[in-house]
């Protein structure tokens, strides 16, 4: 066991009385009035044969005055006179500290009546048990911030075995909006993970869902970091730099060509691409868009039938029509449904069941699936082509940002469910490309609310929080009010982070274990300060973290204003220019002139997917040979009858 270094200057002394005794888990100490001790300060108690580390959780001050009435009496009822009293009453500053660690740890005894010092850097390492994971050749420490008190600034580390698995995993962050707490903290922590995640633990990537505004839209853009924050980076041995490998995915707007994101400035188009799914991608997650009543065995069976027998396969049914079906798109599927309904109508009475599936079930599934196309227009394409995340080729320290801020909530659920399920599938097969993936979800209370109906997404989040760590699938989640999130989801987060909290939220039972002073501190935390819970820390710890070295959403939007929605041809040209900047708008206009929009979208999608050396040529080829319009032959018509004489009133 590492032994504590010699103690620095004494700033207090443990005091114990019958009414306020020292115990193995907490103790009181007093200090001079001018001491630098405050709530959250880590202190060290030295006594012969024992050193104890504690964190200040509460404080009290009082004088020798027995009742307020005596103060009134002494001042003759004049509060101003107290300042002129010749003697000042002595005042005690009494602090309550919770034990972080005792050395030796056995036998566990009450805290001795020793001297109290502020913890040094080395003391902080011992107090938080960081010597077991943050030092040495195979260290697993991830810097999360700097503990600061009394002129000390000590880096605090999280154990990546307990942050990204397998021992524990997941991180949840709570805090009121608008104080640069949640998003900034996660951005900084991801940067810290990417810079310090040890090689012997494998590779790591992140998938972030941007659920509101431009919050996560500029992770690849650097920004100036103030000197104070730069010093914090230095203290933690980190570089203040933006993420080097970021890909953005955003669905289209309903027009199918303009991206539904605030990151549409042409300067950012190189790594911004559409997220487009076809029928095949959506069908497996049809359950997401169905309400609880919809999900019955019959509907489930019919959806299974569609997925296994119909979609993406040739399906021949002589009763429906002569030629086989080849369903690849929603349009094809609609044609298939139409054929069933026509057949059943033709049967007349008794035509209520088709291949063991009741007509009502078929209609319900058709309506719900059709609903996806309507509510997710722009995300779900009708032409069968898809542009998806790079499944199987995730790279180490890369970030995939999926911007769903502009999507309908149902479509957001669909995106979320499919992406997480695909991550899980690939991680199970070990073919994602990386060993660990951090999934960041903001507004967790929306996806996994504490109450309300059971939804597919909530079940999936619960499963992720309970079993994801074995796969390397890690959930970083955030919300304003922790109390409004499903308890099991946040409860499974090995690491919890708290920014400035709403006082009403702090009054909920989930915070009852915190002292009143700690709650007050949480309610007034300045920007850039956090309270941490981590499995190695026996008590919550307060740390400062620097502002992330990436542009905030607001900065990014000012620096890279979103491009205005373009006409169809111009929007296609802009997307092609992201592949080759030399492609001119006029050239693209000429290529798409007279083409059907669906054909153009299909060609554009194919070009994006192929990423050819010559995108313009590829796009032109994908459009196919232009079919010259045929001028209709002049009809000869019927030979006119001989015109009758104008003056013959009886002529025909």
């Amino acid at each position: 066991m590492t032994h504590p270094e010699p103690a620095p200057a004494t700033i207090g002394r443990v005091v114990a009385t019958e009414l306020k005794p020292s115990t193995p888990h907490q103790f009181h100490f007093w200090t001079a009035r001018e001491s630098p001790v405050g709530i959250g300060a880590i202190v060290r108690v030295d006594a012969p044969g024992r050193t104890v580390f504690g964190i200040v959780t509460d404080a009290a001050a009082y004088s020798d005055l027995q009742t307020p009435m005596h103060a009134v009496l002494g001042a003759d009822g004049d509060p101003a006179a107290v300042a002129t009293e010749p003697s000042e009453r002595p005042e005690v500053r009494l602090f309550l500290a919770s034990v972080l660690r005792q050395m030796p740890e056995e036998p566990l005894q009450p805290v001795p009546l020793g001297t109290v010092q502020l913890a040094s850097d080395a003391d902080v390492v011992l107090a938080l048990r960081m010597e077991t994971f943050a030092v040495g050749e195979r260290a697993t420490g991830i810097p999360v911030g700097v503990y600061a008190a009394g002129g000390h600034a000590s880096p605090v580390y999280l154990d990546c075995d307990f942050l990204l698995g397998p021992e524990a995993a997941h991180l949840n962050i709570s805090g009121v909006s608008g104080l640069a707490t949640k998003t900034s903290a996660v951005e900084f922590l991801l940067s810290s993970i990417f810079q310090t995640f040890p090689a012997h633990k494998g590779s790591v990537a992140a998938v972030c869902f941007n659920v509101k505004g431009p919050d996560l839209c500029f992770l690849d853009q650097g920004t100036s970091v103030p000197d104070g924050d730069r010093a914090l980076y230095d203290r933690m041995g980190l570089r203040p730099e933006p993420f080097s490998s970021v890909r953005y995915f955003a669905p289209h707007k309903p027009d199918g060509v303009n991206l539904n994101t605030l990151r549409t400035n042409e300067a950012l188009s190189a790594n911004t691409e559409p997220l487009v799914w076809g029928l095949r991608e959506v069908l497996d997650f049809a359950e997401v868009v169905m309400n609880r009543d919809d999900v019955d065995a019959k509907a489930d069976a019919f959806i299974g039938f569609l997925a296994e027998r119909i979609v993406g396969r040739e399906y021949q049914d002589e009763m429906l029509r002569g030629k086989p079906f080849f369903v690849q798109s929603f349009a094809d599927l609609e044609e298939f449904f139409r054929a069933i309904f026509d057949f059943m109508e033709a049967l007349g009475k008794g035509g209520e069941v088709w291949r063991t599936h009741h007509l009502a079930t078929i209609r319900k599934v058709r309506n719900r699936l059709g609903n996806i196309g309507t509510r997710s227009r722009g995300l779900v394409t009708d032409d069968g082509t898809a542009n998806d995340l790079p499944w199987g080729s995730f790279t180490d320290r890369s970030v995939q940002v999926i911007d769903v801020a502009g999507l309908d909530p149902l479509a957001q659920d669909l995106v979320f469910a499919r992406v997480v399920s695909k991550l899980r599938e690939h991680l199970e097969r070990r073919d994602l490309g990386v060993d660990h993936v951090v999934v960041f979800v903001d507004e967790l209370n929306k996806y996994a609310p504490a109450d309300g109906p059971e939804t597919y997404v909530r079940k999936m989040l619960l499963d992720l929080s309970e079993r994801g760590r074995y796969l390397g699938l890690v959930l970083f989640s955030a919300q304003q009010f922790r109390s409004q999130v499903q308890r099991r989801v946040v409860g499974n987060a090995g690491t919890s982070v708290y920014g400035r909290m709403d006082m009403d939220e702090l009054a909920t039972p989930g915070y009852a274990t915190l002292s009143p002073a700690t709650r007050i501190k949480l309610g007034t935390l300045p920007k850039g300060e956090l309270m941490l819970r981590h499995p190695h820390f026996t008590q919550p710890i307060f740390v400062r973290f620097p502002r992330p070295a990436v542009m905030t959403g607001r900065e990014g939007v000012e620096r890279f204003p979103p491009a205005a929605d373009l006409g169809f041809a111009d929007a296609v040209a802009r997307q092609l220019r992201s592949l080759d900047r030399r492609i001119g708008t006029d050239h693209v206009r000429a290529l798409v002139e007279g083409r059907r929009d669906d054909d153009v979208r299909r060609a554009l999608s194919a070009t994006r997917r192929a990423r050819p050396d010559d995108p313009a040529a590829y796009f032109a080829a994908a459009l196919g040979r232009r079919v010259a319009p045929e001028a209709p032959a002049q009809r000869r018509g019927v030979t006119p009858l001989r015109r009758p004489a104008p003056d013959d009133p009886y002529a025909f």
């Binding site: 005596h70 002494g74 107290v82 003697s87 000042e88 002595p90």
Partner: protein
Amino acid sequence: MIARADRIRRALGARGLLPALGAAEASRGRADDATIQPAALIEDAALASHPVGEAQPWSGPLGFLDGTQRSELIGYAGASPIFVAEIAAAVRERNGRVLTTAVAERKLVAVGRPAALAAAGSALEGCELLASADDEPPHPVRDQHCAERAIERARGALEVAVGARYRERSDAWLIVDGALSDNPGWAADVRAVGIAKSHAALPFEGEALERYLRLPAAHRTSIFAPRSRSVAPVRAWALRLWPREGKDLLYGLVRVEVAPANGTPEMADRLSRWLLAERAPVSTPDPRWDRLLYGIHSVEAYLRASVPGVTRR
């Protein structure tokens, strides 16, 4: 409980003496006999009351001196009791409203007949031995009274020593808890003020006593020269710190003693105004807070905190 008392008891037992447990009567404080000891008026032909004016803060540093004692019966050598006492004295000095300890001293003393102390031998190691009179046969009760007086004298001597040490390092005004007349050094010190809270010995009788006891608030009596227990000549006057209406006659009444050189009406008025300012902050929860200056209360609190169980005020 005196910290070392049990160890001494065990040692006494080992030497064949009889260990005993009990608080000495002296723990209840100094016994003052209630007497009238007529004083000589220095100011006015008959005792009068004088308004002293508005309270004025004392300027510059100000020292407060007080002592404490605690004693325990720890055993018997035959019929002779042996007592151990912890005595302490300190000066707390006020600078800029803040009181800090300037001088402090503590002693452990053992009191008993010379034969009893000799029998205890090394069991009393570390204690200063105070031999009480042995001109009469041993009597536990009488010997206890003798021991109490010896302890009080020891505490008084310690207060004097501490005051002298303070005077060596500072010429600031020094407020002493009790009478100045007990010590010639203080009685001659023109920067010393004694504040006696006890009125067991009263300086007047008859109508003068009535005027003395009915002194209005923020008034002082005529200056007089006490004759009680006077080791050294001093000048004195009574001062009413708080209105007594609705309360006891002695409520808020103190006797102020100064060196003869300070016994002028002007100085009496000035010192009285300064003392009136010392009413705040009040010395609660001490039941004598109406007469106990906060500075003296601070010395007592300090000594009580550093000598656990001290009860003498």
